[in-house]
Structures are given as C-alpha cells and as structure tokens.
Subunit: 345 residues, 4 copies
C-alpha cells in the first residue's frame, strides 16, 4: 500500500509499504477513506519526534472501512464505516472500558504513527488494535469529515474545555487558535461560557475565532486587555492549545483567583518553571494531559448530529495522499489559511 513515511526532519515521503495484517484477535484492518494531519504531527516533522525509528508510517487521525477483523472482534463487522480513536488502549481493561484509554492498565495508552511499534494512519490502510473499543461505527447523521474531526481534534478540544472547569457564565481564554483551539472556543460556549477571549499571533485565525463568537485578542497585550475587560478579575478558565513553556506561562498569567488552566498542547519540555508562589496565593488548578478519545464520543456525537458543533468548518485543505509531503509543508508554514489538512488515499 501507499503510506506517508518519516525519514527525518521535514522528510515525509509517500511510499509503498507492507499492507497491515491482523496481529492479535482483537485487531481490525481499516481501509482509510480519509486521514488528517494533526498539530502534534509537526513535532515529528520538525525532527523532534517520540522515537528514533525511521521509515515508519505517520499520522493518527483517520476514518475508513473495516476490511478484515480478528476473531475476537465482536462489535464491528466487515463493511462498517468507522472512526478510529487517535488514543489507543487495550480495549479490555477496567480503564479502557470506562473510556479512559490514557489510563489503560496494559499499555498506559498509545497512539498511531509515533514509531514503528504502531504504524500510523496516513496510509491506505491501518491496523487498529482492540478494535471493538478503539474504533466505532460512524453514527447516523454524521459525515465522514465530521467523524474524521472526532478522531482527535474535536475530542481534544472538548477534553481541554472540560478540563478547564468551565462553569455557566464563566470568562474563558483560549491560547492558540489552530483547529483544536478554534474548536475549544466552540466547546467553551457549549459548556456555558459567557465570554471567550481567543489569542493567536495570526490575525486570520483570530478572525475565525470571532466568527465562532469569541473576542479576539492579540497575545502581545492580552494580559492588559483582559485585566481591563474583567475589572482585574482575569479569567475563570484558560485553555492552552499550543504546548510549550512560553504559552503555558501566558495561560497561567491570564487566570484569576481560584481559576483553572487546562493544557492540551503537546508538551515536550521535561521541566517547566511553574510560578509556585503566585499559584499558591491565587489558589489555582493546573490540569494537563491528553484525551481518551472514545470517552468524549457519547457527548460529542449528539452535539455534532444536532449541528451544535460543526467541526468540518475547520478543514482548510483536501489533498490526495500522494501530496502528503506538500500538505505537511503548507500546514507547517501556516500557508493559505491552513487549518485541518485532509488527505485522501
């Protein structure tokens, strides 16, 4: 099959690769209908990936059709159109069954396309372990594009917003307006926010946030702007959707007394100079982590079905899989208003 393979910094190639095969009885093989590039894929693209492997297939966002199943698979059938959770658990332990694949008792959660251990889904096909749990039939009333967004980006945005302890009437800020940040804006409103301040260096992204009802703020003077707008109270909840010391620190400056900072941007710094004394004085909650995707689906499915969430709006480009390298380059350069980049095998 054809697949996007990693060969070093800024070297992603669409090449042939062995077809995936059933390795365990809970596996399913999914023919990929469409897949997408995630902001976190850029860590790999920049050569700061999560393994030393070369030539592995990248990507972890995909929808497709079940073409083969192991004999332990019970809930999926050949021919089913499915969405594949980016986060992968064993699908059998107590945590996975409770939807919390990040706390999977067998492997502690995993992800496609980070190494050769679990090949990615920017390919013509992908092997899904624990398929009964790590994939789900696309429910009626949800398009393939919407489902694709639900495999990671929308789920993470929603998770980040929920982690931010948003209360009805809350003042919220979102730091970073890639597709996840933009959907975090929308999620914050679904969760009851009265106002959402949206920060990004790119004016076009801020304009999109405004369309979603947010108040756009230039990060350069965000702290002063929000202090004035809130009469010094600052935000109740802040969602960091970038990952990195500078933006996490900014998030911690925007939150008010007894507020919560929720970090969903992928953080690779081992240590961060946390402002302990100020956090102690203000009484803060700092929450950080990755999303157990299937855990979010029971809530997200009806919200997408009913049109309250329209994640497909944040798809900016649809390209053939063979243009994968180009797609990475556009996305990395934030060219042409690049947001979610979709690839079709």
């Amino acid at each position: 099959m054809k697949a996007l393979r990693y060969y070093g910094a800024r070297d992603i190639r669409c090449e042939s690769m062995d077809d995936p095969t059933i390795a365990a009885e809970g596996d399913a093989i999914i023919k990929v209908d469409r897949c997408a590039i995630c902001g976190s894929d850029l860590h790999i693209y920049h050569g700061h990936g999560f393994s030393e492997d070369m030539g592995f297939c990248v990507g972890h966002e995909a929808v497709g059709e079940v073409v083969e199943i192991g004999r332990g698979v019970k809930r999926l059938k050949i021919g089913d159109k499915v969405m594949i959770s980016a986060a992968v658990g064993c699908g059998a332990c107590r945590s996975c069954i409770a939807g919390n694949v990040i706390a999977c008792e067998n492997n502690g959660g995993g992800c496609y396309g980070l190494s050769a251990k679990l090949q990615g889904s920017q390919a013509e096909a992908v092997r899904v372990p624990g398929a009964d749990y790590n994939a789900q039939r696309i429910p009626a009333g949800i398009t393939a594009d919407q489902a694709l967004m639900m495999t990671d980006a929308l789920a993470t945005a929603w998770f980040g917003a929920k982690n931010a302890d948003i209360k009805s009437g809350a003042t919220v800020a979102v730091v970073g307006l890639g597709p996840i940040g933009l959907m975090a804006v929308e999620s914050a409103y679904i969760l009851g926010a009265a106002r959402v301040y949206a920060l990004d260096l790119v004016p076009e992204r801020r304009a999109l946030a405004e369309k979603a009802g947010a108040i756009a703020v230039d990060p350069a003077n965000a702290k002063d702007f929000i202090r004035e707008a809130t009469q010094g109270r600052m935000c109740d909840s802040v969602i960091e959707a970038v990952g990195g010391e500078r933006t996490v620190d900014l998030a911690l400056r925007l939150v008010g007394r007894r507020g919560t900072v929720s970090v969903i941007g992928v953080c690779q710094e081992r240590r961060f100079a946390f402002p302990l004394e100020r956090a102690f004085a203000a009484g803060l909650t700092f929450r950080i982590g990755t999303c157990s995707v299937p855990e979010t689906w029971p809530e997200l499915i009806p919200l997408v079905q009913s049109g309250r969430l329209k994640p497909e709006r944040y798809i900016s480009h649809v390209l053939p899989l063979s243009d994968g390298a180009k797609a990475y380059s556009i996305f990395d350069g934030r060219q042409d208003g690049a947001l979610k980049m979709v690839l079709q095998p």
Copy 2:
C-alpha cells in the same frame, strides 16, 4: 400610591393604597420603574390564591430605584437602580447568605403579593425586607427590561433547567412554553443540550421555541414523536413549566431510563398519583421546587451581559400600571401573543 389590588376572582383593581414604610432596619423602599405579571399570578387572578386576604397588592416581579433605606442596610444606597428577587429570605441566616432563600432558616422563604403580609410590587413602590440580600444593584450592561426578567422568570427557567441535570449532549423536553418555558429552552442549550423538544398547545408559542432552536412538538402526540425521534430512548431531562397533575404526568412519560424530571410550574395539588412502579423500573429522578432567585444571579448576570441570553425578547406587552386589569385579562386569555406583560407605574 397607586397599586394593583386583589378583590376576588378576576377582580384586580388599580387603586390608591398607603405608601410602604420602613418596618425593620434591613428594609428598603423601592420606587418601582417597571413591574411584570407572572404566570403564577394567574392562580390568584383565578381566585385560587395562597391566602384569604382581600385588597392586598399583588405581583412579585419589579425593578426600580432605592428611595429609602433602614439603618441596617449596608450594600444598597439611595438612588441605586435595583432588581428585586421575587423570592424573599431574611437575608441574614446561613441559608440566605448562601443564596438559598427558599431554605431561609427564619421564614422559610417568602414572596411578595401573595397576601397582606408582604405587599406586592405591582405598585408605585414596594417595601423590600432584608434588602441587602433580596435586591441587587442592576449591573452595568444590563437593561431595566433584562433585569426585570431576572427577578423571577429567567431565574426560574434557569433553575428549572439546572434541576433537570442536563448534561452535554443531552436530549431535553420542555413542557409548557410561557415565558419561563421559552427561557428554559434557551437555558437548556446554554447547559449543553444537543436537542430540545418544546411542547405547548399554542402553535404561536411553539413557533417561538423553534426560533430559539427547539424542535416544536404538539403535546397530543409528543410521546410517540419523541419515542421515534430518539429510537425509544426518550429524553434525558424534562422540564415541566406549567404546574398541574396532567402536565407533570406527561413529563414523567417523556423521560427515559435514569432521566430527570424537573418541575417548576406552580403546583397546588396536595397529592399526585406518582407512577411509582414505572419510576422504580426506569430509575428516575423527580425534582420539584421554587427558585432562590439571588442564587442564580452570579451565573445569569454574565450570560445576559454577554448576550448569550436575551430574556427581553419574551416581553410581549408594555402597558401603564393603570391598565393592570386589562393586562391580566389579555395575559389570562393568551390574547395577542401575550407572553411577559410589563406594567409601568
């Protein structure tokens, strides 16, 4: 002063009455700028009031200006424009200070305009006990009309929606689309509902609910309609905004397994034939009660300020206080699309 006084079924008169005076050190006298008629006032209008008194002033929704304060009042000043909570507590006990005037340890909560004991606010002025807590300065960015809606109707709608345990993505039904029911529809969306079914016998009211994003349903075939739409699951949460055995029973028929029915319509039946066996099998929560208005303000104020809630849309008529009898008649007959009737002294 002029005031609307009750003299028996369908006999409300605008007449002179003694001006209110400070009776306790926590009292304030409020010159009423505008007041409104509540659905529950119709119980009195129909002669099924809450006391045997005659000639008392009716009404419990008003905004106005502080013109006199007792020497114990600390948070309000003469000249302040205030909104007056329809629910009245002592303003000093542990429950009141926690915002729960319904559980006031001194009087168990009260309300204006139900008897001669606490005169109503459909008048040129009204005495407010425990004024520091039972009234609040109208915050910046909120109009008098919006504030008027917050004295009872919006607060009760919000309370009813919160009592319904609405979760993100929930399927909700609202039974009864007077102003409170219509605002319960909007509140359900703020609380995360994916879909709201809106039931009322009056097609015009159903049309208003549709404007607010609801799916209008004729009560006559609501159960079948919702069963089909939800593939038999029925609703997660149902809000009853009428009060009465028939509609409470309907609400209990619309809710699915482990769902919640929240009753905010004023119930005067002493006993109700509760479907115990079915509720046991389905695992239901049945929640009923009146709203401790000030408890809702911290959440509602930013939602109204930011425009997420626009309660003033449900004001259908503005008339002079002297036309009070006519206003009651229009409202009772649901004439002219009557929703919230506002009176100006």
Copy 3:
C-alpha cells in the same frame, strides 16, 4: 442439579432441575459456591412475584466458579472464582459498557430468578449471559462471603446512599434496617454523613444500626424525634430501604428543605399519592430505582479490601441449599435475628 424452585406462595422446594447450558456465545456456566436470599425474593415467596411462571429457579445473589464458557467470552476463564451481578445487561451496548445495565439498550436490564426466562442462582449452577460484563473475578483480598454481599445487597445499599446526594456533614435517615438498610447506614458514613438516624420496627435491627454508629429511632415517633434533634431542619438525605407506600411516605416526611429522598426498596405499587404541594414548597428531589451492580464495584472493591466496609457482618445464617425452604421461612419471619441468609449447594 439441585435448585430452589417456586411453586406458589410460601412454596419453595429444593428439587432436581436440568443443568444450565451455554445458550449464547457470551454465556458462562457458574458452579455456585454460595448463594443468598434477598429481601426482594420475599415478594415472590409471598406470591406477589414478577411473572405467572411456575417451577422456575429463584434467587439472584451468588458467587461461584466458572466451569464452562461460550466462545465469545474473553475476560473470564474456566476455573475463575467470580461474583455475579444480580442485575443483568447484554454486556455489549453503550450503557452496559458504561456500567449502567439498568439502561441496557438491548433488554433494559434484567435479573435472575424472576421467571423461567432467566433461571435463578439458588441452585448448584447458573447460566450467566454476557458473562464478561455481568460477572467479575473476585479480586484478591476479598472473601467469598464479602463477594456474595457485593452481588446485590451491598451494591444496592451503596447505590441508594449515593442516590441520596449525601454531602459531607449531612444529616441522613435510613428507613428499614434489613441487610441493605444496615449497609446503607455504613455507606452513608463513608459518603461523609455526620449523623445517621436509623429506623426499623424491630429493636434488634436498630441495635445493629447503633453498632454501626447510627442513632436508632423508633419509626412511631421518628418525625418528632428528628425534628427536635435537628431543630426543625429535618434530614438532608433519606434512604428508603423497604419498598411500599407507607415507608416511602414516611421518608418524604423526614426530609428537609432542598433535601433528597432515595428509594431502593422494591416498589410494586403502580401509583403513589405523592405530596406534590409540600414537595414544591420544600424543593425536594425524589430518586428511585434499582442498582446497576457492576457500576458500583470499582468503588466498593477497594473499600471492602481495605476493611472500611465489612458486609459479611450482616450474614446471620449459613444453611445447606437443601434447607432452602426453611431458610425462606426463617427470613420471612425475621426469626433468630435473621438478616442475610446464605445457602451452600
């Protein structure tokens, strides 16, 4: 095999019966080590059962050993010692996987031993459908007796206490002190109650509640006693563990403003004269239903392992299965301090 079979009011016989067999690929056959009689079995014993069937095997509380499994069973193995949830779901739908078998989308939850449709577990062996989910290996550190209590009684007590919205420092009442009521007393303390009032007509049962830290109250004057003890506030939370109009009504009289009544006693009345007006004035929550047993295990297992809950204390009798008829008679007559009756095949 030998099994307790129902032949009409007060006619339970230990007789031969066909051995259970695998009927679906998710089934397991469990050789019963010990089983127990539940208060709700007395409804059947009194001839007020849930079907017209005759000769079916009764009982729904059992622990035992897996002796045969369908080929779809993945989490259990032959030889495993397991506890069997009294509540049975399909074990595959979204609700079951979330632990909520009562809302099972395929059969709406079920129970052993109510009819010939699903034979009971007061027998030498029992067929368990959806065994991967409806049974669980007995965790290390939990005895067979403890596990037996967790198959229904302790789970229901815990569920009832959680349904009662018990907050830290709460005043709680438990109406009915059978094994479930007594364990509801203990559960209420684990959930943070400051004081638990325990009501039962039988003084010996009240004495057991006192041993568990409760304040024993004679139901005859419970309302006055609790009013005085709480300075009129009454209880924050009341758990009804009997089932029946009279005790549900009593529970509703013991709860104070904004309190919650949780009914776990099995209710067979179709309608109940609910005190609507008073509930409206007081702002009550009324919650009723049966327990999705496996849902409670993640919380109960560590509490039993660590010794904070000692459910085995409420086992009063251990008899051979062949003495089943006698055991029912002792339990029904509340003879010899009968609480949990255990039977050994």
Copy 4:
C-alpha cells in the same frame, strides 16, 4: 495588653502592646481565650516572613469573646464566644459572602499576624475586621479547643483533602504529618478514601497517623513502597502538607494517571521545576492554594459536633501566653512530640 511580638529570626517576645481598637464599623474586638501556633508561623520565626516590619504581633489562630463591636456589626453580640477565621476578607463582597475570602474582591484575602498592617492574635485581644463574616459564634456542642482547631488547621486540612478530588474508594497519600497533615488523613477518610498512605520523617508522627487508620510510610522509600502496594497504579490523590520544592516534587511522584496533587503547605518559592512532560503523559491535576476558612465551616461543624472529627487530639501542649517564646522553640524543634501548641493569655 500582652502580646507575642516579632523582632527577628527566633526572637519572639511576650511584651506589652496597645490594646486594639475599633477602626471600622464592621470591626469587633475579641478578648482571646486561647490561641495557637501554626506551622506557617515558623516561616516568620525563621526570619523568612511576609514583611519587613518589626515588633508586630504574630499569630492567626484564636478563639475568644466579643468585647466590643462597631456599629455595622449585625450578627455578633458582645459576650458571644467566637472562633476567628485565620483567612480574612472584607466580609461584604460577592466572594466573601460566598465563603471565598481568598478571592475577596476588596483585598484579595488576608491573614492576621503577618505584618503590622493586621496585628496577630497571639495576644490578649485582637481586632477582627468584617467580623460578621470573619468570625462566627462557636456552635453548641463544640468545645473551645475544637473551635480553635477550626480557625485554621482543621479547615486547611479539610480544604486540602477536598482539593485532592478524593473519590469513594480512592488511594490517597499525605506528605507531611504535622497537625494539618494528620487531620488531612482523617479528612481523606471522611471523603471516602479506602486507603491513606502517610509520610513523614518523624516516626512518632507516622505512629499518630497509624492511629488514625493510615498506612505509615517512610518518605525515603515511599515511591517504591506505594508502587508495589498499588501494583504500579500509584495514588489517586496526594495531599502535600509541608510546602517546599522537595515535598511538592515527591507528591508529584506518588500520583498515578489522571490523579490529583493538592498542595496546602505554604510555598514561598517563586518558581518550581514542574515535571511538565510527565504530567502531560499522565494527565495530572495540580491544585494549590490557601483555605477560605469560613467556607469550610458548614461542613466541618456537624462533623465535629457528631464526633466524626476530633481535632483536639492533635493539641500537644498548652502553655501560658507568657511562655510564647518557649512554645515557639519547642514547636520549631519538634520536641516532646510537639504538634499543636496552644497558648492561654
């Protein structure tokens, strides 16, 4: 009056000082019956206080009798025996009335005895601002010693345990077993913990934690011990009751996936090297701050009245105020099993 005054590191003297006087209409003067030394007072004692002032009166834990009130005080009367919240808000703003003095909108919360701005309560008398809110009559059934513990230590322990998101059945660790840590152990059990691991360098303190039901653990090998005991899952919730980079870091090492670390030890480090990458992988919540004491009283009062919490057990010494310097020295040296040091003027 006599008061303990600060003159530099390890130089606390019992000296004369001007009597406190009413400075604002909300003030009350409290004659101190007994006061106590807090672990955080040692920061001052070591010369690492919160101001450059000299000669001010220290201490923030006290109970006593109201001897004078400003004319704005409404809830307290002369002669009332009261407990004084260590955390001080204006007592009038929205946050204070909601019990959250740390978020006081007027002064952002304060504390006695940190500088000359607000004199301490290790004295014969103390001025309490916003007395209606910042002090409360000692409820019936609570001794002066119990009330004294509720002015800060027990409230902070409770707050820390609640901040740790302890769920029923949780595995908890408490780092640091001064009086606050020991009461955090007890609070964790009240909140439903199945097991509490208790860490302190001092064996005597670990023994006290064992008496309270905890599993004592030597900090030196705590990580390995807990990893083995939990089969690698580590703790659901960890409470840090020391304050300081080393112990906060240890707390973060003891928590498992999706767990919460709650820091209540007073932190004076400006920055802390937070393990960002690991926290991201594990999905942690880090919560830190000081307690809004009055916010805890509605829950703590019934728990102390009913004997579920017995904070007075952690009083180790009672000395006359004139021996204040000695008391500080004993407490600082952890001599004679020093825990809570009480002083009587």
